[in-house]
C-alpha cells in the first residue's frame, strides 16, 4: 500500500505539492502533509463533522474523501476565513454569542455554516437548523451556535 501519487492540493489559494497513497484521507493530507491543523478529526466515519471543509463551494466531510479526489479542486479551511487581522463575520458571531467552549468542533461548524450560507444566503431558520444538526458539539448545547449562525447570516446578507 505504499505506492504514492503526486498531487497538488490547493488550500486557501496556496498550492501544496504532495505525494500520497491513494487511500490517504483528505483530512490527513490537509493536516499532516500540508500542515494545516485547524481542520480537526472527530470520528473518521462522517458523523461528527469536525473535519468539514469547503471543496469547490460545497461543505464536505474531509474524513470521507480521499486526498487524490480533491486534487485540482479549490479547498477552503478555517485558516482561510479571516482576512488579515479581521475575523470573518461567522467567526466574529461565534465569539459574540459564546458559540464555542472547547473549540474543537468549531472549525467544522464554521465551514459548514459559511459553505451553506454562501450557496443559500436566504435559507430559512428551520432549514438552517437541519443543516446545523449535521455536526456534533459536546460543549455548548447548540443554542449559542444557532444564534451565532443566524446573526452571521444577517451580516453576510447585508454585504
Amino acid at each position: 500500500m505504499s505506492d504514492k501519487t503526486a498531487i497538488t492540493l490547493t488550500i486557501n489559494g496556496h498550492d501544496h505539492a504532495i505525494a500520497v497513497e491513494p487511500r490517504r484521507t483528505l483530512v490527513d493530507a490537509i493536516r499532516e502533509d500540508c500542515g494545516q491543523t485547524g481542520t480537526h478529526i472527530g470520528c473518521e466515519h462522517g458523523i461528527c463533522g469536525a473535519c468539514t471543509v469547503i471543496v469547490d463551494g460545497e461543505p464536505v466531510r474531509s474524513c470521507l474523501m480521499f486526498a487524490v479526489q480533491a486534487a485540482g479542486k479549490k479547498i477552503r479551511t478555517v485558516e482561510g476565513l479571516a482576512k488579515d487581522d479581521k475575523l470573518h463575520p461567522m467567526q466574529q458571531a461565534f465569539m459574540d454569542h459564546h458559540g464555542l467552549q472547547c473549540g474543537f468542533c468549531t472549525p467544522g461548524f464554521l465551514m459548514l455554516a459559511v459553505g451553506v450560507l454562501e450557496r443559500e444566503p436566504d435559507i430559512g431558520d428551520d432549514d438552517l437548523l437541519d443543516v446545523l444538526s449535521s455536526n456534533l458539539c459536546r460543549c455548548t448545547g447548540y443554542q449559542n451556535i444557532i444564534k451565532a449562525v443566524r446573526a452571521a447570516a444577517k451580516e453576510m446578507r447585508g454585504k
Binding site: 465569539m95 459574540d96 473549540g103 474543537f104 437548523l129 446545523l132 459536546r138 448545547g141 443554542q143
Partner: protein
Amino acid sequence: MTAPAKFVGRSVPRLEDRPLLLGQGRFAADISFPGQWCMRVLRSSVAHGKIKSIDATAALKLPGVHAVWTAQDVAHIPPIPFRLTGLKTLEPYRQPVLAKDIVRYVGEPVAVVFAQDQYAAEDAADLVEVGIEPLRATMLATEQPGVYEHGLTTEPGVVRKGYGDIEAAFRKAHAIVSLELSIGRHSGVPMETRGAVARYVEARDILEMHGASKVPHWNRDTLAQMFGRKRESVQLFEGHVGGGFGIRGELYPEDILVCAAALKFRKAIKWIEDRREHLIAANHSRQQTHKIRAAIDSDGRILAIDDEFFHDNGAYMRTHAATVPDLTAAMLPGPYVVPAYRAIGHIRLTNKTPCGTYRAPGRYESTFVRERLLDAIAAKISVDKVEIRRRNLIGKSAMPYTLGLETLGTHIVYDSGDYSRLLDKALAAADWKNLHQQLRARRANGEKVGAGVAMFVEKIGLGPFDTVRIEIIPDGTIEVITGVASIGQGVETVIAQICADALGVDYANIRVIHGQTDRIDKGMGAFASRVTVMCGEATRLAATQLRGKALRHASELMQLGVDKLDIVNGEIVRAGGLGPSMPLGELAGTLSAVLSAEDTFESAHMVYPYGVHIAVVCVDADTGAVKIERYAIAYDIGKAVNPKLVEGQIAGGLAQGVGGALLEEFLYDENGEPLSVTFADYLMPTAREIPAVSILVTEDAPSPLNPLGLKGAGEGGANPVGAAIASAIDDALGIPGAVTQLPISPQRLKAICRRI
C-alpha cells in the same frame, strides 16, 4: 483598598476564542516532533479470556514498523494508582498497562505497535495474531458476585453511608414507598478523542508529555513515581483540550505506554485515539441499579430513606476508584430533610469498559433516584409533585446544614441556600400554573404532554488548596500562573476577570498560564467544578498582595504615600485625580527583582450550589419519541463571575443530560461484545434534539466560604435532567412512576405505552 468590580459579574468576551476561531488551536493531535513514531494499540476483541499467544512476526516485517510490545515489555511498570477515594481493598483490581494472561473487556490493550506513521502502525496492528481462549463474561452487576481471580470476588468493595435510626423510622412509618430504578452506561465523549505525545529530552534528562489535561501535576507526580524518576525530570504540557467532562485527563494505560516507549526508544512517541477506541477504551460511567425505599408520615414527609445500589464499574478499578459510588451515596439526600438515612453501594466488576467520573458523577444517578422517589411519594399520598418537594425541603434557617455524611475526604455541610425561594422563582419563570392548565387541556384533546420538576444540590470546588503566582512583565502584560487546567470551560477569562479587579488592570492584558508543570510546582487541576472557586480565590489573594507590593514600590519612586496612590487600568495614579502616573509594566522594569506575588487558598470544605429544572415534553406513543417542548432551569451560583459563561456551562450540561435521559447508552451483547462503537450507535444529541432553554441564574446564597461568594457552574446543567424528563413523561402518560430506567429510549417508551 480595592477598586470596585469592573470585570467580575460582566459577560466580557472570552480570551480563549481568537486562536480557536482562527484554526490556530494546539490540540494533542496538532503536536508533532521530528522523527516521531506513531503508536497503535492492539485491543482485545474478547470480553473475558485467557491470552494463549501473541505473534507479531508478520507485523514486524512490514516496512516502517519499529517495534511491538506486549505485557512482558512493560513488566517493570506497576498498575495505574488511584487518584481519589482509593480504598486499600480495591488495589488488587487496578488495571495493568497491557493485559497479562487475562483480558477482561473488549478494548483492553493487549499489545502496542510502534511505526513511522499512523497508517503503517495500523496496518501492522492488523497483522499481530492474538490467540485468546474465551471465558464466561460477567455482564450484570446485579447478579451474585463471582470469582475475579485468586480468591478475589467481583465485588471489590461496598460503600456504606448513613445516620439515624432507620429501623425505628420504618417501624413507625405511615407508609413505605419502594422503587427499583436503573441508570444506563454513559460517558462524556468529548469531541476530541484522547491523545498523548511523549518525548525524552536527552540534553536535559527530561521526560515530556504533551496533550496533558485535567490534572497535569498529579499525573506528573504519578508518572515520576511509576518510572522511578525525580518529579522535576518529568514535565507535562497542556495544549488546547477538546472537552473534558470528567473522563479526559485521567492517567490511562496509553499515557504510560507513550512515556515508557519515549524513555526506551529515545524517540518522540505519538498516540492519537480513534473514535471506536474512544467508545470502548476511555472511561464509561453511571451504570447503576438502585433498590430504594422511603418511610413517610401521613403528610408525605420523609422519615427515612434506605437505598441499596449496584454500581457496574466495568472490568477494573481505574484512577477514580470508589469516587462515583461514594458520591452517589453521599449526595442522594439532596435538598430534603431526611432524618434517617442508609445507603449500601455494591461496587461490582463486569466484563465491560472500566469506569470513572462523568459530569455530575454520582449525582446524575442519585438525583434521578431521589426525584423519582419524591414523585412516587407524591403519588402515594395524592399531593402535587411541587407540594411534596416543598414539604420536605431544608429551610433557609437551617443553613449551614450539616448532612452527617462525608465524601472525598470532606464533611458535607451545605454552606448556604434558600431552596424554596429558588423553587418559587423557577415555577414563576416557567409560568407553572398556566402551564399546567394548558397541558391539562391538551391532554384532554388526546395529546400526550406533561411537565416534570426536579431539584438538586450540587457540590463544587474540592480543595484542599490552589496556588497562584502573578507576575507583572515589563511590557505591561500580567501573567497569572496557576496549577489548574482548561478543558474548554473559560478558565483564562474568568481568572483574568478576578485578577483584573483585584489588581486594577484590564482583563485583556492578563495571560493565564495553566497546565504547565514546568511553570509552577504544585497544582490541583480542573475537576469537581473547582477552578473558579479555588483558583479564583487564590488569584484574588495573590492579586491583592501584588497590588500592595506595586503600590509600595511606586510610593518610593513617586515620593507619595501608599494611601495617596491607586492602580487604575494598569497605571499607578494619584488617588482620585490628576498628577503623574506610571504604567505597571514600567514600574516592573525599574526593579531588579521580578514584580510578583504568590498566594494559596486552602479550603477543607466544598461549596453547594443548587437548582431546579422544569421540563415539558410531548410523547409520541407510536414511535416512542419524546419531544422536549420547553425547558427551564433555575440555578443559584452564589456569585457569577461571567454570567454568559455560566449560562454556557448550564446549557451545555443540559444537552449532555438530555443525551443521557433519552439517547445515549453503551450496550453490550450477552458475550460482552460492545454494540455502541460509532456515533451511529452511541447517539449524542444534535441541534435538533436540544430545545431552547430558559436559564435563570440567581445569586441569593453566596458562599460564606470565600469572600466573593463563589460557587461553581460546571455540573448543575446536567445533574437533574434525567429526573426532570422522567417526571414529565410520567405526567404526559398519566402514569406516576412509569419511567424506571434511563435512557428512555424509543423502544423502552413504546414498551411502557403498550402497557397502558
